[in-house]
Symmetry: C2
Subunit: 347 residues, 2 copies
DNA sequence: CGCATGACTGAGAGCGCTTCCCGTACGCGG
DNA sequence: CCGCGTACGGGAAGCGCTCTCAGTCATGCG
């Protein structure tokens, strides 16, 4: 690779000159070379190579009006954000897919409520072609922002407002939370468990609600005392478990809405000398490898392909952007990814 | 905020026209307004506001040759990456600082060894003004890449080659690992412990080595059987603890190079019925809030301000970029951030 | 053999912005 | 009241690239 002399990189002009063609032809070659005869293509490529030419991104963006960048907006006031393997795996998937399409990942962390202004300005500023967002809470202002900015956006997780009629559909990627929950609870029932409790997640997150719905699908007329609410954290899971044991010492199984809470629940059960799975069987959700496999006993849980979801989000967005540009292809539709039950020792 | 008619955003030209000034004057106002009389400034700002003008970033970059973006390169083949609260907090700090300076964060995840080519191309491509990187392993190709691309870079954690003489200094931000370790071990000794073991991190990470050095600073002629090596993971910590107990059943304290390993060590001690801190005192490192406070017993550990380190990294880089541009100010220098011992129950 | 047709290539016009350079208008002192 | 100096505003030149449009050349067919 040729050394870069400081401050001056070769331009297309230089490449064209060296190859003995016009700038237009050089440009054509650099952008795929359609309609340029082989010998010229080779000459240009040779010049590119010799000069170490790298296209100027800003100039290209200026004329094409496309940035080749996508924003990933993470708005999570809680600590959970990155520490949550969930996000990190999702981002990893996104990164892989974007990279494969020569698209940059611009990370936008929302630090506080006042930040939405900044985000809005940024998204409106034409810095990125599209956005990927994680819709978490009911009152999330993000959808409104992206809509007003006219930025194509794909959501991770079913946005809460998608239930509302009349709202325009937005593409999103989500796991089959309800189906997964159904399978999990059904499994517990097939095991012969009769008083299956549930520790749910925060009600303003659709994933939590969908999992609860799945639970109810199987246990139609469930006694409300068998249901407790947690906050998707280890601690809240422990609290909820304690609460359930208090209310229903007779319970013989718990379907917990995520692995973190399940690990908290396991701890409480262990502390109180309740044998898992003999006395109480536990099934979690997410199959976080850093949690589910290392609990004692290892957690039976519902697996979802989180990284795959990230990839899918990116792919959906890129496809949509491509469609905007070329004007053809089907409108991107939401995708529900499958879930599978992973049997370990806790149930 | 005015609605954007699709596809056409107001230009500086439009703002200038509406304000009744030249484009040059409008530009000056938008960029700070130096040397423009108050009434005109106001007129322009009013026009900007009314039109909802947002500068075209590509055009600006094209002429100024500055992108207003910084790359954050994370090259960690292991899973640890994001799941590691370490990175997430660091990134959070970086994000805050960059945001405060209207600079974008472009995330570059290295997925595999072959990816370095892509990273190199990207960094050379003038997409970003600078880079922040986490130097982890001895043979990391990143430093060479950024140097060749001529991209100002600040490292997180002391790069291993900084020990080599003759190598040009690179700015980095790191905690006072050695000092922190010293304080921790000294604390154990002040407690009256006499056979203080050490579980170290991977030898190709400077933080691990520096902590080991701190340990040795206090325990000058330490018996090598008291030192075991781990990989900064829970499991490796457990393994190392088991190994130490095997070799030296008489040990009465362990200084562990990070909290994750410490939690693994605690588990092993608990399983074997060794009382902590009565029989064996444990001190960790990092003070990860998701770990140190929730172990049983809560972990005495060495705290470092990780988010602050991230901020510092960004600040150092921005200062360097500013210096490159204006040509004045001191060259950015590396920073070692202080560490403090946090007393909890494990020692 | 001549002209039409198609396939390529080249010239040039900007994309929106910053900034240099020059003209001018205003300030002040004499 | 007039001259000069200073500071501010305006014109214009690109930054590097894409893409339309027109021109060129070779070929195929009548």
């Amino acid at each position: 690779m040729p050394e870069q002399s400081p401050g001056s990189r070769p331009t297309l002009e230089a490449v064209a000159a060296r190859a003995g063609v016009s700038r237009a032809t050089a440009s054509r070659v650099v952008n795929g070379g359609d309609g340029v005869r082989k010998p010229l293509v080779d000459k240009v490529l040779k010049a590119v190579d010799e000069l170490g030419y790298i296209p100027n991104h800003a100039a290209r963006t200026l004329v094409t009006r496309r940035t080749g960048a996508v924003a990933v907006v993470i708005a999570e006031p809680e600590i959970r954000i990155f520490s949550d393997p969930f996000f990190s795996q999702q981002i990893r998937g996104i990164s892989k897919e974007l990279t494969a399409h020569d698209t940059q990942l611009v990370l936008l962390l929302v630090e506080g409520p006042g930040d939405f202004d900044r985000i809005a300005r940024y998204l409106s500023g034409g810095h990125v072609d599209g956005a990927l967002a994680f819709s978490l809470h009911t009152d999330d202002p993000l959808p409104a922002i992206t809509r007003r900015a006219g930025i194509p956006t794909v959501y991770g997780g079913r946005p809460s407002w998608t239930a509302d009629p009349g709202d325009q559909a937005v593409p999103y990627v989500d796991a089959d939370n309800r189906g997964g929950a159904r399978v999990a609870v059904q499994y517990l029932r097939d095991l012969g468990r009769e008083r299956i409790a549930h520790i749910g997640g925060p009600p303003d997150q659709t994933s939590a609600m969908d999992r609860l719905d799945g639970y109810r699908d199987v246990l139609i007329d469930v006694d409300p005392t068998l249901v407790a609410e947690g906050g998707f954290t280890v601690e809240s899971g422990a609290r909820a478990m304690a609460e359930l044991l208090e209310r229903r010492p007779d319970l013989d199984a718990v379907f917990v809405a995520n692995d973190l809470m399940a690990s908290g629940a396991l701890r409480v059960l262990r502390e109180r000398g309740v044998a898992v799975p003999e006395q109480v069987a536990i099934v979690g959700f997410d199959d976080m490898d850093s949690v589910a496999a290392t609990t004692d006993p290892p957690l039976t849980t519902v697996n979802q392909d989180i990284e795959g979801q990230g990839r899918l989000m990116a792919r959906l967005l890129l496809r949509g952007l491509d469609r905007d540009r070329t004007g053809n292809g089907p409108a991107p539709d939401s995708v529900i990814t499958p879930t599978t039950l992973v049997r370990r020792a806790s149930a």
